[in-house]
């Protein structure tokens, strides 16, 4: 068994940790497919790494669980509290409980953070810390995190979107006149219905009045770097997605299950079922790009 060079050892760990830029990773994978000894060493490394991660998780389940879920619990509690307050406010001000005012569109998403940034004229060329490491680009950081996030937030808020786009990923810019529950479903060209938000079996998320990007803002702060989220994925072979965005006044009781709509085989059918559940429905479309 030959000893690996220090460079190869570092490369193996960077590969297992998902730290290699895309081009280097593919180059390394081609090498693995040819060099059985190297592939064996990486396989050993990967399974030992997984073993230690499992062992660490089993040893500290309480600490781990608390560390992982505390922010969710906080977020959920805050969202619930905000939802209740908003519902009270809505009841006091409108009295009719009808669907809030909404503006809904669709905008293309991008596979890489760099391409997404460059799609906004006001952000083009900016490279915050984190983007290079996350999406495999090689540029060094050239903008302060706070400054970038402020600009990115403004750029997303100004994103108008349209009724139809061609993209492999997409986001839904949405503006709500009042707190509301939102769902996003889609039906592909073959009549297959998909629950995009929430996932099947989960309750619809509640959003506050104002501007949002679904499924989430694409840029967010994570410690001392920026993370990028690509948006909704257009499944390969989908052809075209009829995207249905449903909005209704937030309810105290969870009475909607996206699972129940997945048997529908047309966008009209899904739209009808959403309307029956009290949602105001807006329909947009995403075409899968040719390869």
């Amino acid at each position: 068994m030959k000893e690996l060079s220090g460079e190869d050892m570092a490369l193996c760990v960077a590969y297992v940790d998902g730290l290699l830029p895309e081009a280097r990773r593919l180059e390394f994978e081609l090498r693995l497919a040819e060099d059985r000894e190297l592939a064996r060493r990486v396989a050993e490394l990967l399974s030992t790494d997984e073993l230690l991660r499992r062992a660490a998780a089993e040893r500290t389940p309480v600490l781990d669980s608390a560390r992982r879920w505390k922010p969710w619990i906080w977020a959920a509690s805050l969202a619930a509290a905000a939802g209740i307050l908003a519902a009270i406010a809505l009841h006091l001000t409108s009295g009719d409980g009808g669907a809030p005012r909404t503006l809904i569109a669709v905008a293309p998403g991008f596979e890489s953070a760099a391409r997404c940034i460059d799609s906004f004229p006001e952000l083009a060329g900016l490279r915050p810390e984190g983007v290079d490491r996350l999406r495999g680009e090689s540029e060094s950081a050239n903008v302060e995190l706070a400054s970038f996030l402020e600009k990115a937030k403004a750029a997303e808020a100004a994103l108008r979107g349209s009724d139809e786009v061609e993209a492999g990923y997409f986001v839904v810019p949405i503006e709500l006149g009042a707190s509301a529950e939102c769902v996003v479903l889609a039906v592909d060209a073959h009549g297959k219905a998909l629950a995009l938000l929430p996932a099947a079996g989960e309750a619809p998320p509640r959003l506050e009045a104002g501007r949002h990007t679904l499924p989430s803002p694409r840029f967010a702060l994570d410690g001392e770097r920026v993370i990028y989220r690509r948006g909704f994925l257009v499944p390969l072979g989908a052809g075209r997605l009829d995207v249905l965005v449903g909005v209704r006044t937030a309810r105290e009781v969870v009475d909607f299950d996206a699972n129940a709509l997945l048997a529908e085989s047309s966008a009209d059918g899904v739209a009808r079922r959403l309307a029956d559940a009290g949602f105001e429905v807006r329909r947009v479309a995403v075409r899968e790009p040719p390869e």
Binding site: L11, L19, A33, E34, V42, L51, R54, A55, I227
Partner: protein, 192 residues
């Protein structure tokens, strides 16, 4: 899954614009990815998306004129590992945020008395082997696994270059593997 011999020339046929070959490559990539993702216990909710990412990135690599892999199924397996590693890294860095994609890893197989005893023996052996590591290796693994720090954070804390941390991790894990082997644990005992 087709064997390597059955895929002779598939890459080149795709590159020449053979639509059938392209479809076959996508099918092969998806099948390889699904098998490997399940084997490596990828999160159930993410398997379909990750398999698609393997297909998409393989076709993108082909479209960019990427070199033909000598063994296509092996390349697709490692492509899957790469996509899974990237996904796990994203999960580690985004889990504290309310990201809908954050989901727990697939659960371990149903515990039987035999399996429980084996896991206990393995856990004890692992603890013993870790104690035998050099101090600096032990410290690095402690920060990586129990401290859940990434390589850069470990490097910052220990005043090292990130590559040095990677080499230290590689050597420590290789030493652990060897120690476990001496205690009678074969490669398959360590698999998820």
């Amino acid at each position: 899954m087709a064997d390597a011999a059955g895929d002779d020339g598939l890459w080149e046929r795709c590159r020449a614009g053979d639509a059938g070959a392209r479809e076959r490559l996508a099918e092969l990539a998806r099948a390889c990815a699904l098998a490997e993702l399940v084997r490596r216990r990828a999160p159930r909710e993410a398997v379909a998306d990750l398999a698609q990412e393997v297909v998409r990135s393989t076709l993108a690599f082909l479209a960019r004129g990427g070199a033909a892999p000598r063994e296509l199924p092996a390349f697709l397996k490692y492509r899957t590992w790469g996509v899974l590693s990237d996904h796990r890294k994203r999960m580690r860095t985004t889990l504290p945020l309310a990201d809908a994609a954050a989901a727990p890893e697939r659960k371990a197989p149903e515990a039987t008395p035999e399996r429980s005893a084996h896991r206990l023996q393995l856990a004890r052996a692992l603890a013993d082997c870790r104690q035998r590591l050099a101090g600096e290796q032990r410290e690095t693994l402690e920060l990586r696994y129990e401290g859940q720090l990434d390589s850069q954070a470990i490097a910052d804390q220990l005043g090292l270059h990130r590559n040095t941390v990677h080499v230290r991790v590689f050597r420590a894990l290789a030493a652990l593997r060897e120690c476990l082997g001496r205690k009678g644990f074969a490669a398959e005992d360590l698999e998820p």
